[in-house]
Symmetry: C2
DNA sequence: CGTGCTAGGTTCCTTGAAGGAACCTCACCC
DNA sequence: GGGTGAGGTTCCTTCAAGGAACCTAGCACG
């Protein structure tokens, strides 16, 4: 099968999904960020094959998203903790959670609530414009070719489209 | 292989990744939301196998994320457009893009820039608290069990953790 | 009217990753 | 020196991803 490698593609979404676009990886990161950090706990929690879990963790460590850390000396015990790069995946998880809550939560409501320690309130995450603070949607944003943009594999048509948009 | 079905799991992230946690789906949604909507254009742009593209599109239509729409009568031509449910995946894409920009953009900068039509500025997306508007990070939020929470497969350990947290 | 082009898929075959379960190893503990 | 628990590896089977060829319907043109 040799899943098509997307890491070379000139698109940050492609680069991110190359790592993250795997059903298990998102759930592993959710667990690690929430506090389930040990191999056996992850295996039990996710119901994932131990082989696949080992492979995913190794990948995440290699990518610098997690580090394996000794939390006890005698006996030696290790667990996985998120690096800064890993913690910054949190917004992706919140966005997924928001969407899942909105479209799949049953009558009983969402399975997990979120408390923001900054303001103390139960809340949800919104995707906002970094400049003006207003919510961002697909309809009021425009993608434009950026400085690092090459039209490479994975963005054939998209590249042309963005270029034409930049001119028009 | 029979990818473990996650849709029954009491976690919105799991439900969302069940659909979205696939390298191609995110890229297809990126393209569709940006304006690449025809089968052949998608196939060319992504370099995806036509078979897999057809399967993904069918899945996305079945999930109500895309609809197949006739845009020309003679000859009959159809394309795929995002529903509201699909357009609301945009924040997930922006979060992925942000992360990819931050950690993988080369010296030349990000491949795509974003213009917010609301304020007119080039911008990026931030993940903010819906209540107070401040940015949300993994460190200043706390997950708590919600009304729809059952401890089901996929949240064994997590469920216990959240419960203990709710009491402590 | 037959040949060709384009959009939009299907079919066929091969490979390789996901699942599952058993097995392994090391350090402790009694 | 047998048991236990953490943290993986190994082995085997199955099923979907990739790739490329093939198919079909509707023009369109000479």
């Amino acid at each position: 099968m040799t899943r098509t490698p997307l890491s070379g593609v000139a698109c940050s979404i492609a680069r991110a999904t190359d790592l993250f676009g795997d059903a298990w990886t998102a759930l592993i990161m959710r667990d690690v960020l929430v506090g389930v950090t040990r191999f056996d706990d992850l295996a039990e929690d996710l119901g994932i094959s131990r082989k696949v879990l080992a492979a995913r963790l190794a990948r995440l460590v290699a990518e610098g998203v997690l580090v394996r850390e000794r939390y006890q000396e005698r006996p030696v015990r290790e667990h996985y903790v998120a690096t800064e790069k890993g913690r910054e995946l949190y917004p992706v998880l919140l966005a997924l959670m928001n969407w899942g809550d909105r479209w799949y939560a049953g009558e009983s409501g969402p399975p997990v609530r979120l408390r923001h320690l900054g303001c103390g309130e139960l809340t949800s995450a919104v995707c906002a414009c970094a400049t003006c603070g207003e919510p961002l949607t697909a309809d009021d944003t425009l993608e434009l070719p950026g400085p690092g943009g090459r039209t490479g594999p994975g963005t054939q048509v998209l590249g042309r489209l963005l270029k034409s948009r930049a001119h028009g």
